[in-house]
C-alpha cells in the first residue's frame, strides 16, 4: 500500500485547521491508549502470534511506554505499517510513536522532522545468499541480482556499497515484503539485502529451510534502530525516551520483572528513587510515581525483552550487549 492516504490525510487536515492542536502527551492520556506504529510482520521485532497477540522487541518498546504512562502495558493500539507508510503515519498524527525497526539517520531526523529515542537495536545491513551459490564474502557479489525492499534505507546503502567498490549489481525492488521474500526464495535474486536482524528473521521464519541459506559476515552499513516521535513535542519525546531508557538501566542494575518489587523496597536509595519509592522522577516527566516500576514489571528489562524476542532467532547479543559486557548499550542515568 502507498503512503498516499496518510499524506492526503495530513493535507486534508490542513484544509480545516492549519496547526496541530495540543500535545501528543495530552492526546494519549485523553484517549487512554497509545497508538504505536509497528511492523506488519518481522518475527522477533513485531508480528502477531497465532492468537493475534503482538510480539517482538519493537512491540515491547510500545508496551513499556504504555506501562509507564498508564500503569498498564496492555493499553496500546498497534498500527501495522509497511516501510513506505511509516513516516507519513507519524507525520499525519495517525500514530503517537513509531517503533518499527527504523534506522535513525540525519535526513529522517532533520528533513522528516522526527525525534528518535534511545537506540534499541544496533544493527547493520548485510547480505543473505543461498548456500548453493558458493559465496562466502560480499566481495564476491559482482554482477549479482539483489532483492531489496523499497521505502527502506537499504536501497541507497546497497547502491553506495557496490558503487564505492566499482562493482555492479542488478536491483529487484518491490514494496511488498511478502512478495519480495517469495521472489528471493524462488531464486529470482542471488542475494537478499536488508538489516542483518531482518535477514535473521526472514531466514528463520520464512525460508522453510534455514539451513540452506547463509548470512554473509560483512556488514555494509550502520543501522541503529530506534523509536521515533514527531519533532517539536519535547514532553512526549522525553516520556518515550525515558520509558525505554529505564529498561536498559534496569538490566545494568540487575533489576528484572521478577525482582523489581523486592529491589524497590531494598535499602538502595538510588533504586528506590528509580522505582518510585519517591515521586520526583515521575513528577519531572509528568508520569505516575511508579512509571519505571510498571514498565519493568510488566515488560521486563532490556535483557529479558531481548531474550524473549530475539533469542529464538539465534541472534546473539553482540553490539547489543551492555557496555559493561563489550556491547554498546549504555543507559543515560535516570536520576
Amino acid at each position: 500500500m502507498s503512503p498516499l492516504p496518510f499524506v492526503l490525510a495530513a493535507a486534508l487536515g490542513g484544509f480545516v485547521a492549519p496547526a496541530l492542536a495540543g500535545t501528543t502527551f495530552d492526546a494519549v492520556k485523553q484517549r487512554g491508549a497509545l497508538r504505536c506504529g509497528v511492523n506488519v510482520s518481522v518475527p522477533g521485532f513485531s508480528s502477531p502470534d497465532s492468537q493475534g497477540h503482538w510480539q517482538g522487541l519493537d512491540v515491547d518498546v510500545c508496551r513499556a511506554v504504555a506501562a509507564a504512562v498508564f500503569g498498564d502495558a496492555g493499553k496500546v493500539e498497534f498500527v501495522p505499517l509497511n516501510a513506505q507508510q511509516r513516516f507519513a503515519a507519524l507525520q499525519s498524527g495517525e500514530i503517537d510513536m513509531l517503533s518499527r525497526n527504523t534506522t535513525w539517520t540525519l535526513t529522517r531526523d532533520a528533513e522528516l522532522k522526527l525525534d528518535f529515542g534511545p537506540v534499541v537495536f544496533f544493527d547493520g545491513q548485510g547480505f543473505m545468499v543461498a548456500k548453493a551459490l558458493g559465496v562466502s564474502r560480499a566481495g564476491q557479489l559482482d554482477g549479482a541480482s539483489v532483492c531489496v525492499q523499497s521505502g527502506t534505507s537499504t536501497e541507497q546503502s546497497v547502491s553506495d556499497w557496490f558503487r564505492a567498490r566499482g562493482m555492479s549489481f542488478r536491483p529487484v525492488v518491490m514494496d511488498n515484503f511478502d512478495e519480495l521474500n517469495k521472489a528471493f526464495f524462488a531464486g529470482r535474486c542471488d542475494v537478499y539485502t536488508t538489516d542483518r536482524s531482518g535477514l535473521a528473521s526472514i531466514r528463520m521464519t520464512m525460508s522453510g529451510k534455514p539451513d540452506d541459506y547463509l548470512i554473509l559476515p560483512d556488514m555494509i552499513s550502520k543501522e541503529p534502530l530506534a523509536p521515533a516521535v514527531r519533532h517539536g513535542d519535547q514532553d512526549w519525546a522525553d516520556v518515550v525516551r525515558w520509558s525505554v531508557m529505564v529498561l536498559i538501566e534496569a538490566e545494568e542494575l540487575g533489576v528484572t520483572s521478577a525482582n523489581v518489587a523486592e529491589k524497590r523496597d531494598s535499602a538502595d536509595p538510588a533504586l528506590g528513587r528509580l522505582l518510585g519509592r519517591t515521586p520526583d522522577l515521575g513528577q519531572a516527566l509528568g508520569l505516575p510515581q511508579d512509571w519505571a516500576f510498571q514498565a519493568i514489571r510488566q515488560v521486563g528489562n532490556y535483557g529479558e525483552v531481548y531474550q524473549r524476542n530475539l533469542g529464538p532467532l539465534g541472534l546473539d547479543r553482540g553490539l547489543n550487549a551492555l557496555w559493561t559486557q563489550g556491547g554498546l548499550l549504555y543507559a543515560i542515568p535516570a536520576r
Binding site: V7, F15, L112, G143, V172, V173
Partner: protein, 375 residues
C-alpha cells in the same frame, strides 16, 4: 428536425457570467486549501518544492532505456521511470488490441465452441483482480530455471528465471547494407507479385537478400550474444521477468475488456451491411475485414480510448512485482528525500500528460473516421 426550445437555458451572456463566477470561486477555494495545506504540511515536516530534482539520486535502477548511473539526478531517474512506464505500456497496448479483436470476434462466432471459449476467457480475466493476475504471471516467469541451467532455445536465445535473453543488434553501420539489400528485395518481390508469382516463392526473398549481403560482407559479427558469466548472463538483450509479467498481465487483462468492446461494435453494425456483403459474394473473413470491422471501429473507438488509458494507469501496479516504472521510482525518490507532496504531484502530472496525449490521438483518429464516414 425542428430545434427544440429549452426554457431553462440562460442567454449566452448570462451563462458565460455564471460559469466565470463559478470558476473563480473554485479557483479561490483551491488556492485557499493549497495555502493551508502547505502551511500545515511544512509544520509537520512534509516538505514541498522541486529543488530535490537536481540532487544526486544515489540508487540503482534495474532497467534503463537511457544511460543511468546512481550519480545522476532525481529528475533523470523519474524520466527513466516514465520511459519504463511507456516501454511496458505500448507493447501491452498492441498485444491487448490484437488479442481483444480476436476474442471479440470469437464472442460472436458461429461455432458454439469458439463462443464458449471466448466467453470463458472474458469472464475469468475480468473477474480476477489484476494484481493477483500479475502475481501469477510473475510466479510463472520467475519459476523458470536459474541462469546456470537455462536451456538454449535457439542459438543465442536463453530462457531463464532471470528473463528471456536474445541476441542484441550492435550499433554498426554495416546494418545499412543489409537493410538496403532487404529493401531492394522487397521492391523486386512486389513487382513479381503483381505478375502473379506465388507468395511462398516471394516471401523468403528479403531475408535471403539480407543474409546474402551479410555473407558477402565477410559475415561480420553484428550481434551481441548473451553469455553466462558469474551469476548472470552478460550481453544480449534481456527481457526481464518483471517486464514480461507486467506486459502480459496488462495485455491479457485489458484484452478481456477490449473483446467486449469489439463484440459490442460488431453488434452495432446493421445486419443489412453483412447481407449486402454476402450478396456481393465476399467470403466471411473478407466480410469481417472489409465491411464489418471498419464500421464497428467507429462505435468502438471512444470506449477503446478509455480502455487504453486505464491500461496505462494500471501499469502503476509495477512496483508490486519489482518493475521500475514511474511510480516505483518516484516512491524511492520520495522515501529518500521526504518530498511526498512534490513527488505525488509529479506522478499525477506525468500520468495526466500521457493520458491527454493518448486521448488526443484517439480523438484525432475518431474525427478522421467520422469525416471519412461523412464523405
Amino acid at each position: 428536425m425542428q430545434a427544440r426550445s429549452y426554457p431553462w437555458r440562460l442567454s449566452r451572456g448570462r451563462a458565460l457570467l455564471l460559469q466565470g463566477g463559478v470558476l473563480l470561486a473554485l479557483l479561490a477555494l483551491l488556492a485557499w486549501c493549497w495555502h493551508n495545506a502547505s502551511l500545515r504540511l511544512a509544520a509537520q515536516g512534509v516538505s514541498s518544492g522541486f529543488g530535490f530534482l537536481q540532487r544526486e539520486a544515489g540508487f540503482a535502477i534495474a532497467e534503463t532505456p537511457i544511460a543511468w548511473s546512481p550519480a545522476d539526478t532525481y529528475l533523470r531517474a523519474l524520466g527513466i521511470g516514465l520511459l519504463n512506464t511507456l516501454k511496458v505500456s505500448l507493447p501491452a497496448l498492441l498485444l491487448a488490441s490484437a488479442l481483444g479483436v480476436a476474442v471479440g470476434i470469437a464472442l460472436g462466432a458461429q461455432s458454439r465452441l469458439w463462443r464458449r471459449l471466448a466467453r470463458g476467457y472474458v469472464e475469468s480475466l475480468r473477474n480476477v483482480p489484476l494484481l493477483l493476475q500479475l502475481f501469477v504471471w510473475y510466479g510463472v516467469f520467475s519459476a523458470l530455471p536459474p541462469p546456470r541451467q537455462a536451456p538454449q532455445l535457439l542459438p543465442g536465445v536463453f530462457l531463464s528465471g532471470r528473463g528471456l535473453l536474445l541476441p542484441a543488434p550492435l550499433a554498426d553501420l554495416r546494418w545499412l547494407w543489409l537493410a538496403g539489400a532487404a529493401l531492394l528485395a522487397v521492391g523486386l518481390a512486389w513487382a513479381l507479385y503483381r505478375r502473379r508469382w506465388p507468395l511462398p516463392v516471394l516471401l523468403p526473398l528479403p531475408p535471403l537478400a539480407a543474409v546474402g549481403s551479410w555473407w558477402a560482407l565477410g559475415a561480420p559479427p553484428l550481434w551481441s550474444l548473451p553469455v553466462l558469466g558469474g551469476f548472470n548472463f552478460h550481453g544480449g538483450l534481456l527481457l526481464s521477468p518483471e517486464f514480461a509479467a507486467l506486459g502480459c498481465g496488462l495485455a491479457f487483462y485489458s484484452a478481456s475488456y477490449i473483446a467486449e468492446i469489439v463484440r459490442g461494435g460488431i453488434d452495432a453494425v446493421p445486419a443489412g451491411q453483412r447481407e449486402a456483403g454476402l450478396a456481393l459474394g465476399l467470403r466471411r473473413a473478407e466480410l469481417m475485414r472489409l465491411i464489418v470491422l471498419p464500421q464497428a471501429l467507429r462505435v468502438m473507438l471512444p470506449p477503446l480510448a478509455g480502455q487504453y488509458l486505464s491500461l496505462i494507469k494500471n501499469s502503476s501496479l509495477a512496483v508490486a512485482i519489482g518493475y521500475p516504472d514511474l511510480v516505483s521510482i518516484a516512491n524511492t525518490a520520495i522515501n529518500q528525500t521526504g518530498q511526498a507532496i512534490s513527488g505525488i504531484l509529479l506522478i499525477m502530472l506525468a500520468y495526466l500528460s500521457v493520458s491527454l496525449v493518448v486521448a488526443a490521438l484517439m480523438a484525432w483518429w475518431n474525427r478522421r473516421l467520422l469525416q471519412r464516414g461523412e464523405a
